[in-house]
């Protein structure tokens, strides 16, 4: 029996159910085995054309998607522009419809506005994969994060995961919260009070502003990049002040009763949220996350391509 995802698009983790997550992870297991074998490419998406449309800068997410697509033998076109489509004088719908008229089968989109992919999915026929929409969701990041926890700790259920940093402006935090909770983990958020959404506890997470207490509690610490570019006003006085309060270094970890697994979605601000000896230390699985990102994205692309065939 061919198992299928419950959704046609991947717009956010919120829309997925537990069975979807298990299916994605099991599919990713197969692709990960493949990526570690001699021939890394399969013909699964031959004759499928995927457009990677990036309205916001990205390096690793774009590379990861592109590699995943190429290893599935898809044809790939890239469209990148910084700034809004409005300022370019063309609407999002026009931009994407123009690309789709060239017979594209799937769209991967990153966009600075929350819900942009939800909006797009309502107006086009092909599957849309959200590669990050403003401060809303970044579902494939959350999937690869959970997949990496599962790989390192043998499972996600019952694990305690703290997300540390700018929770207010983070799509990674939101998608991670949804994903980890669906998988049965306990989630805490930790950061400066000015960067914690006031109603974050309504999502069923613990809230902490003392990073030492948070680390003492956690099995896993997912440390977010401090994104000054996403802040319209100052939420903390300086990077030094942030590092003094929330930076994670070796002596902090050494002082704990047990050291948590350290994760980071990248790119790291070395010396700000993570010191180099922690980022490169034995607790860190940051490069595993990157590796798993390709397998997880291959799984998502493959599973959504099946939805095209079944429509």
């Amino acid at each position: 029996m061919n198992r299928l995802l419950s959704t046609r698009h991947l717009l956010g983790i919120r829309e997925l159910n537990r069975e979807d997550l298990d299916l994605i992870f099991e599919t990713a297991d197969n692709f990960k085995n493949l990526l570690n074998s001699k021939i890394k490419k399969v013909p699964s998406l031959r004759d499928t054309t995927i457009a990677n449309i990036f309205f916001e800068n990205s390096t690793r997410t774009k590379v990861s998607f592109e590699l995943a697509e190429k290893r599935l033998s898809a044809d790939v076109v890239n469209f990148s522009t910084s700034g809004s489509s409005v300022s370019k004088g063309e609407t999002l719908i026009d931009t994407v419809k123009n690309i789709l008229s060239m017979k594209v089968d799937m769209v991967v989109m990153r966009h600075p506005v929350p819900g942009a992919c939800v909006f797009l999915a309502k107006h086009i026929e092909v599957p849309v994969i959200n590669a990050g929409d403003g401060t809303r969701e970044h579902p494939t990041q959350a999937l690869l994060d959970a997949y990496s926890i599962r790989e390192r700790l043998g499972g996600v259920a019952g694990k305690k995961v703290v997300i540390i940093g700018d929770i207010l402006h983070s799509r990674v935090a939101l998608s991670n919260i949804f994903c980890l909770q669906k998988l049965g983990a306990e989630v805490m958020v930790c950061g400066p009070a000015t960067l914690l959404p006031r109603h974050i506890a309504s999502l069923g997470v613990h809230v902490e502003t003392d990073v030492r207490k948070a680390l003492e509690w956690a099995d896993v610490a997912n440390v977010l990049r401090i994104q000054l570019e996403r802040q319209d006003i100052r939420y903390f006085p300086s990077l030094r002040e942030y590092t003094l309060n929330f930076g994670i270094n070796k002596s902090l970890l050494d002082g704990l009763n047990k050291k948590p697994v350290i994760m980071h979605p990248g790119p790291i601000n070395r010396g700000v949220e993570l010191s180099s000896d922690v980022a490169d230390g034995s607790e860190a699985i940051i490069l595993d996350q990157v590796e798993n990102g390709v397998a997880v994205r291959m799984a998502v692309l493959f599973l959504l391509s099946q939805k095209i065939d079944n429509n």
Binding site: V86, P114, G115, V118, L174, P197, H199, L203
Partner: protein, 423 residues
Amino acid sequence: MSNLRFDLVIKNAQIADPLSPHVHQTLDLGIADGRIARLGNSLEGTEYIDAEGAWLSPGWVDLYAVCPDPGEEWTEDLTHLANAAAHGGFTDVCVLGGKQPHSDQTSVVRYIRDFRGAHSRLHPLGSSTLGLAGKDLDVLFDMQQNGAVAFTNGNTPLHDHGMMMRLMQYAGQRNLVLYQFCLDNGLAGTGTVHEGPNATLLGLKGIPSIAEEVAVAACIRIAEYLNLPVHISRISCAESVALIREARVQGLPVSADVAALNLRLDDSMLETFDTNLKLMPPLRAAMDKQALIEGLLDGTIAAVVSNHQPRNQEQKLVEWDYASFGANTLQVVAACLGASAELKPEHWVQLLAHGPRKILGWEQVIIEPGMPADLTLFDPAATLMPSPSQNKSKSMNNPLWGMPCTGTSLLTIKEGRIIAQNR
């Protein structure tokens, strides 16, 4: 007596007007020469309308509608707006006109004053600050002399409390009617929706209730300090209702209105990212909606306004953050009030006819002989599904289309002439 023939007779209307001696009676109403001539039974007329037991109110008055004419008249123009208003049950609409920001609002005020059409009467609103920027006083007296009936700063928060105070002092010295739209700039930030669990779920930046509450509190305190009355425009949260109620209990001359959609919708609908739900003030939580309705019931809130903010497709068919605020609402005000079964027909009259006229300092229209025949026939319990096929506005941004609703106006009469019928 019975051989008198009226120009128009409305038969079998229930009088909803609490100021009328005939309230709650089912009567015929005879109109002659643009005035209510008689209330009675079996009246004879040149023309008849059978109200079939629907409720009759003095003509409804909308305190606040926006129209980007002149400047962007392809989105909405005065003719279409007046037609939509008539079909929404309004005989009179206060209009903030012109594509904003407009550098010379006085000319826009004159343009609206001089508008003559077959539908609702339009009354110009003046801008309280230059270009609606919230920073400098605009020419309030000049605009008043040219017909402005009240002054508003639109959706822009005032720059600071000093500006709020100067504005009240300046308007107060000539008893000009000032609508204070209360939102603290710094606390509102760049939010686009109500700050709450729903905004958190959707990753949308919120406008916290405290941003409105703080500004409402400041507004009331400054008015008290200056010993001036104040009208607070389009409140949206429970805390504002509580503050205004408390001020009124203390005997302060504070009045308030609410935008119709805030009585019908809440932020739980935002999940669709439908940009027609991007509104100013924002749709707040269900408990805020309930508090607003309670404010209507106990008289804390004196009026319901359309807050009609027409937008074109280019302003709405875009990503959430890039979409303009506002909805096309003139024809669905009744469909918003009807959602609250606690509101009796007398409440409707209070909130749509007597309340607005009182805020503007106008003579009341009461359903009794001699009064102008400005009338609205309505059915608070009628079920309907608003749709684009009934739309009289030029704009298409109406979030209630396709949604089952309760409550509608049936007939609008201005100076004895039928200007709109919805059946």
